[in-house]
Symmetry: C2
Subunit: 209 residues, 2 copies
């Protein structure tokens, strides 16, 4: 007799599940994944991602050890799933606002504010930064494309993009650690004066796009 599933059938469920069926998502599945996500966030902020064993994790989540593997093949996959979901959320928020940079930034920071620990956890696991960069790249590549002519000639465009991404993430990381935190609008101003304006040194167009 074969095992019902193991490492294949169930694992891919719920990922981009908009194929018309939408199988109704068993409560037990979402419950288990929620518990695992919460436990990972807690433990990562407490001792760091690398210092968590799967037995620690399943114990904290209060689920059986083997149950973990019915949802994710390993620890990194769980982290990645959380990351992907978070990125999708952020992109969904930013997309309608690409033409209004200031409001987009404010909306992003407001969104971060709804799950601070989650994003702190994602930023703490640094090897994920490259993936997180995708979300920022989404905005900054647009920025670069629109403002390429204004970037100082001695600075390569790729470097400018990377700088915008990295510096913004760095600011977010700092911001999430603060208590109390500056408002999204204040952060928008800081990002503008510290990161964006230096790329506009030649053109002095005021406050528009």
């Amino acid at each position: 007799m074969m095992t019902q599933y193991m490492r294949n059938p169930l694992v891919n469920l719920e990922l981009t599940s908009h194929n018309g069926s939408m199988p109704k998502a068993d409560r037990r599945i979402s419950r288990t994944r929620r518990l695992l996500t919460d436990a990972l966030i807690q433990l990562t902020l407490e001792r760091g991602f690398e210092n968590i064993s799967l037995r620690d994790l399943t114990e904290r989540a209060d689920i059986g050890y083997a149950t973990f593997f019915r949802h994710y093949p390993d620890k990194e996959s769980l982290l990645n799933a959380i990351l992907e979901e978070s990125i999708a959320t952020l992109i969904g928020i930013a997309t309608p606002l690409v033409t209004q940079p200031k409001q987009m930034i404010a909306a992003m920071f407001t969104a971060l504010l709804e799950h601070p620990e989650r994003y702190q956890m994602l930023l703490k696991t640094r090897h994920i930064n490259q993936l997180l960069s995708r979300a920022m790249l989404f905005g900054s590549s647009l920025f670069i494309a629109q403002n390429a002519a204004q970037i100082p000639s001695n600075i390569p465009a790729e470097l400018a993009a990377r700088h915008v991404i990295g510096a913004t993430i760095n600011l977010i990381e700092w911001w999430l650690e603060q208590t109390p935190r500056a408002s999204p609008e204040q952060m928008g101003e800081i990002i503008n004066s510290l990161i964006m304006q230096p790329l506009h040194q030649s053109a002095a167009n005021a406050s528009g796009v």
Copy 2:
């Protein structure tokens, strides 16, 4: 019959060994550590720090497995030793030049250029960034102290310091990946226009300290 050493006697050798004795450093010791360092750099750049087992490492270094533990208690300690040595080197270079920022930056980049793989490796292992920050903090805290009055009032000084550190490290990381690489002088100009100048928006004093 006791074991000669194990995890205690030898491990601390050569760390800050300026206590008057300077026990002459057996060739075999420095050879082993050099082989381990080179192997770690290679393997980390190839597959990432987390994906290296100590058996991989000792095999690549061509030394016995148990020999590793006679020098470092674990993988992280080897990485840390390399990091500490590198930081000490950089601080030694920067210290005499604190009053000449432009020359200091150029000297730092020139130093990085002598062991690019080593610094790439250190920057690739992101959880070490906090420690690396110490080296940059050394310079930027000075910068902040000297220029505190010129930092825009809406930007906290700690955030300014963190931004300078993070953005500079990010630029270095980008620079080390390039081929060919811009000159240290060019990087100095980029750092100035992209990172430093925005902190001087109010005061327009020209090129001096």
